[in-house]
Protein backbone atom coordinates (compact mmCIF):
# COMPACT_ATOMS: atom_id res chain seq x y z
CA UNK A 1 0.00 0.00 0.00
CA UNK A 2 1.25 3.47 -0.95
CA UNK A 3 0.31 6.68 0.82
CA UNK A 4 1.61 10.16 -0.02
CA UNK A 5 0.34 12.74 2.42
CA UNK A 6 1.06 16.01 4.18
CA UNK A 7 -0.29 14.75 7.52
CA UNK A 8 1.78 12.98 10.13
CA UNK A 9 1.23 9.27 10.76
CA UNK A 10 1.43 7.03 13.83
CA UNK A 11 4.05 4.30 13.22
CA UNK A 12 2.68 2.19 16.07
CA UNK A 13 -0.85 2.26 14.69
CA UNK A 14 0.45 1.57 11.18
CA UNK A 15 2.48 -1.36 12.45
CA UNK A 16 -0.45 -2.75 14.43
CA UNK A 17 -2.67 -2.62 11.33
CA UNK A 18 0.14 -4.06 9.24
CA UNK A 19 1.13 -7.01 11.44
CA UNK A 20 -2.09 -8.93 11.43
CA UNK A 21 -0.25 -11.92 12.89
CA UNK A 22 -1.92 -14.27 10.44
CA UNK A 23 0.44 -17.12 11.23
CA UNK A 24 2.24 -16.89 7.87
CA UNK A 25 4.31 -13.79 8.66
CA UNK A 26 7.57 -14.62 10.41
CA UNK A 27 9.22 -11.24 10.18
CA UNK A 28 8.41 -7.58 9.69
CA UNK A 29 11.08 -5.04 8.85
CA UNK A 30 10.28 -1.38 9.20
CA UNK A 31 12.29 1.74 8.43
CA UNK A 32 11.32 5.15 9.71
CA UNK A 33 13.04 8.28 8.35
CA UNK A 34 13.11 11.43 10.48
CA UNK A 35 14.08 15.06 9.87
CA UNK A 36 17.51 15.89 11.27
CA UNK A 37 18.36 19.31 12.62
CA UNK A 38 21.68 19.75 10.84
CA UNK A 39 22.99 20.09 7.32
CA UNK A 40 25.60 17.83 5.83
CA UNK A 41 26.58 14.40 7.00
CA UNK A 42 27.66 15.07 10.56
CA UNK A 43 26.10 16.93 13.48
CA UNK A 44 27.89 20.17 14.23
CA UNK A 45 29.49 20.30 10.80
CA UNK A 46 27.03 22.63 9.08
CA UNK A 47 24.44 25.21 9.99
CA UNK A 48 21.39 24.25 12.00
CA UNK A 49 18.24 23.40 10.09
CA UNK A 50 15.08 25.06 11.35
CA UNK A 51 12.81 23.09 9.05
CA UNK A 52 12.58 21.60 5.59
CA UNK A 53 9.95 21.51 2.90
CA UNK A 54 9.43 18.43 0.76
CA UNK A 55 8.16 19.23 -2.71
CA UNK A 56 6.92 16.38 -4.88
CA UNK A 57 5.39 15.62 -8.26
CA UNK A 58 1.83 14.49 -7.56
CA UNK A 59 0.87 11.57 -9.73
CA UNK A 60 4.39 10.61 -10.68
CA UNK A 61 5.21 10.03 -7.01
CA UNK A 62 2.44 7.48 -6.55
CA UNK A 63 3.29 5.92 -9.92
CA UNK A 64 6.97 5.49 -9.08
CA UNK A 65 6.30 4.20 -5.56
CA UNK A 66 3.82 1.66 -6.94
CA UNK A 67 6.49 0.54 -9.43
CA UNK A 68 9.03 0.19 -6.62
CA UNK A 69 6.55 -1.84 -4.55
CA UNK A 70 5.81 -4.10 -7.54
CA UNK A 71 9.53 -4.63 -8.08
CA UNK A 72 9.99 -5.64 -4.42
CA UNK A 73 7.07 -8.06 -4.58
CA UNK A 74 8.57 -9.54 -7.71
CA UNK A 75 11.93 -10.11 -6.04
CA UNK A 76 10.85 -11.35 -2.61
CA UNK A 77 7.88 -13.36 -1.27
CA UNK A 78 6.08 -10.63 0.67
CA UNK A 79 2.78 -10.81 2.52
CA UNK A 80 2.45 -7.05 2.80
CA UNK A 81 4.20 -3.81 1.84
CA UNK A 82 3.53 -0.35 3.22
CA UNK A 83 5.09 2.90 2.04
CA UNK A 84 4.07 6.21 3.56
CA UNK A 85 5.85 9.39 2.44
CA UNK A 86 5.03 12.89 3.62
CA UNK A 87 5.38 16.17 1.75
CA UNK A 88 5.19 19.80 2.82
CA UNK A 89 6.93 21.59 5.68
CA UNK A 90 8.55 19.37 8.33
CA UNK A 91 10.50 20.29 11.45
CA UNK A 92 13.45 18.44 13.02
CA UNK A 93 12.39 15.20 14.67
CA UNK A 94 9.30 14.88 12.48
CA UNK A 95 8.61 11.68 10.55
CA UNK A 96 9.23 11.80 6.78
CA UNK A 97 8.88 8.27 5.52
CA UNK A 98 7.88 4.81 6.67
CA UNK A 99 8.57 1.61 4.77
CA UNK A 100 7.51 -1.78 6.11
CA UNK A 101 7.59 -5.28 4.65
CA UNK A 102 6.21 -8.55 6.00
CA UNK A 103 7.47 -11.94 4.90
CA UNK A 104 7.64 -15.51 6.15
CA UNK A 105 11.40 -15.08 6.33
CA UNK A 106 13.54 -12.53 8.10
CA UNK A 107 16.07 -12.22 5.28
CA UNK A 108 13.35 -11.36 2.73
CA UNK A 109 11.82 -8.80 5.11
CA UNK A 110 15.18 -7.10 5.72
CA UNK A 111 16.31 -7.11 2.12
CA UNK A 112 13.04 -5.91 0.63
CA UNK A 113 12.70 -3.08 3.15
CA UNK A 114 16.28 -1.98 2.50
CA UNK A 115 15.72 -2.23 -1.26
CA UNK A 116 12.53 -0.17 -1.08
CA UNK A 117 14.28 2.63 0.80
CA UNK A 118 17.27 2.63 -1.55
CA UNK A 119 15.09 2.71 -4.67
CA UNK A 120 12.68 5.23 -3.22
CA UNK A 121 15.66 7.50 -2.48
CA UNK A 122 16.69 7.59 -6.13
CA UNK A 123 13.36 7.19 -7.97
CA UNK A 124 10.53 8.83 -6.04
CA UNK A 125 10.20 12.46 -7.20
CA UNK A 126 10.62 14.33 -3.94
CA UNK A 127 12.93 17.30 -3.39
CA UNK A 128 14.00 18.74 -0.06
CA UNK A 129 14.67 22.40 0.58
CA UNK A 130 16.22 23.13 3.96
CA UNK A 131 15.37 26.34 5.82
CA UNK A 132 18.33 27.66 7.82
CA UNK A 133 19.25 30.97 9.44
CA UNK A 134 21.46 31.55 6.40
CA UNK A 135 18.56 31.10 4.02
CA UNK A 136 16.96 28.33 2.03
CA UNK A 137 18.96 25.67 0.28
CA UNK A 138 17.90 22.84 -2.02
CA UNK A 139 19.41 19.57 -0.85
CA UNK A 140 21.79 18.06 -3.41
CA UNK A 141 21.42 14.42 -4.37
CA UNK A 142 24.07 12.17 -2.86
CA UNK A 143 26.41 9.93 -4.79
CA UNK A 144 26.09 7.48 -1.89
CA UNK A 145 22.37 7.15 -2.56
CA UNK A 146 23.01 6.26 -6.20
CA UNK A 147 25.58 3.70 -5.10
CA UNK A 148 23.15 2.25 -2.56
CA UNK A 149 20.47 1.85 -5.24
CA UNK A 150 22.92 0.31 -7.70
CA UNK A 151 23.62 -2.53 -5.28
CA UNK A 152 20.19 -3.89 -6.23
CA UNK A 153 20.80 -3.80 -10.00
CA UNK A 154 20.41 -7.11 -11.74
Amino acid sequence: MIRVQAEDFDPGAELAAFSTGNGKVGGICMFLGLVRDYLGDHPGQGAGVNAMTLEHYPGMTERQLAAVEAEARDRWPLHAVLIIHRHGRLEPGERIVLVATASSHREAAFQSCHFLMDWLKTKAPFWKIEHTDQGDQWVAAKEADDDAARRWDR
Binding site: L54, Y57, R63, I96, K121, A124, P125, V139
Partner: protein
Protein backbone atom coordinates in the same frame (compact mmCIF):
# COMPACT_ATOMS: atom_id res chain seq x y z
CA UNK B 1 2.37 20.50 -24.53
CA UNK B 2 2.27 20.54 -20.75
CA UNK B 3 5.74 21.22 -19.33
CA UNK B 4 6.44 21.00 -15.59
CA UNK B 5 9.41 22.19 -13.52
CA UNK B 6 10.28 21.16 -9.99
CA UNK B 7 12.65 22.22 -7.19
CA UNK B 8 15.43 24.61 -8.26
CA UNK B 9 14.46 24.36 -11.93
CA UNK B 10 11.09 25.84 -10.98
CA UNK B 11 12.80 28.57 -8.92
CA UNK B 12 15.10 29.56 -11.79
CA UNK B 13 12.43 29.48 -14.48
CA UNK B 14 9.95 31.24 -12.22
CA UNK B 15 6.93 29.02 -12.88
CA UNK B 16 6.10 25.40 -12.14
CA UNK B 17 4.08 24.75 -15.26
CA UNK B 18 3.88 26.03 -18.83
CA UNK B 19 1.37 25.07 -21.50
CA UNK B 20 3.36 25.54 -24.68
CA UNK B 21 2.84 25.28 -28.41
CA UNK B 22 6.07 23.64 -29.45
CA UNK B 23 7.47 23.88 -33.02
CA UNK B 24 6.83 20.74 -35.07
CA UNK B 25 10.56 20.23 -35.45
CA UNK B 26 10.84 19.58 -31.69
CA UNK B 27 10.24 15.83 -31.47
CA UNK B 28 12.55 14.68 -28.64
CA UNK B 29 13.18 15.65 -25.04
CA UNK B 30 16.64 16.87 -26.01
CA UNK B 31 15.26 19.08 -28.77
CA UNK B 32 12.65 20.42 -26.35
CA UNK B 33 15.38 21.51 -23.94
CA UNK B 34 17.31 23.24 -26.75
CA UNK B 35 14.16 25.13 -27.69
CA UNK B 36 13.20 25.95 -24.06
CA UNK B 37 16.68 27.46 -23.47
CA UNK B 38 15.87 30.15 -26.05
CA UNK B 39 12.77 31.27 -24.18
CA UNK B 40 14.39 33.19 -21.30
CA UNK B 41 17.58 33.67 -19.29
CA UNK B 42 15.93 31.66 -16.52
CA UNK B 43 15.32 28.73 -18.85
CA UNK B 44 18.87 28.96 -20.21
CA UNK B 45 20.25 28.97 -16.66
CA UNK B 46 18.07 26.08 -15.50
CA UNK B 47 19.21 23.88 -18.38
CA UNK B 48 22.85 25.03 -18.42
CA UNK B 49 24.14 21.67 -17.14
CA UNK B 50 21.98 18.73 -18.17
CA UNK B 51 23.93 16.39 -15.91
CA UNK B 52 21.96 18.04 -13.09
CA UNK B 53 18.58 17.60 -14.79
CA UNK B 54 16.24 14.61 -15.05
CA UNK B 55 13.32 14.36 -17.45
CA UNK B 56 10.08 12.39 -17.27
CA UNK B 57 7.49 11.95 -20.01
CA UNK B 58 4.01 11.06 -18.78
CA UNK B 59 5.50 10.44 -15.33
CA UNK B 60 8.12 7.91 -16.42
CA UNK B 61 11.85 8.59 -16.45
CA UNK B 62 13.25 8.86 -19.99
CA UNK B 63 16.46 9.88 -21.74
CA UNK B 64 17.31 12.94 -23.84
CA UNK B 65 16.42 11.25 -27.14
CA UNK B 66 12.94 10.19 -26.05
CA UNK B 67 10.17 11.10 -28.54
CA UNK B 68 7.54 13.62 -27.46
CA UNK B 69 4.16 14.68 -28.85
CA UNK B 70 1.96 17.70 -28.08
CA UNK B 71 -0.27 15.46 -25.92
CA UNK B 72 2.58 14.54 -23.55
CA UNK B 73 3.25 15.79 -20.04
CA UNK B 74 6.97 16.53 -19.86
CA UNK B 75 8.62 17.25 -16.50
CA UNK B 76 12.11 18.53 -15.68
CA UNK B 77 13.64 18.30 -12.25
CA UNK B 78 16.91 17.74 -10.38
CA UNK B 79 17.94 14.30 -9.06
CA UNK B 80 15.49 13.41 -6.33
CA UNK B 81 16.24 13.88 -2.62
CA UNK B 82 13.29 12.39 -0.77
CA UNK B 83 13.16 9.61 1.78
Amino acid sequence: MNVLYFAWLRSRIGVGEEILVVPESVTTTGALVAWLKTRSDGHAQAFADLKLVRVAVNQDYVGWDHPITPADEVAFFPPVTGG
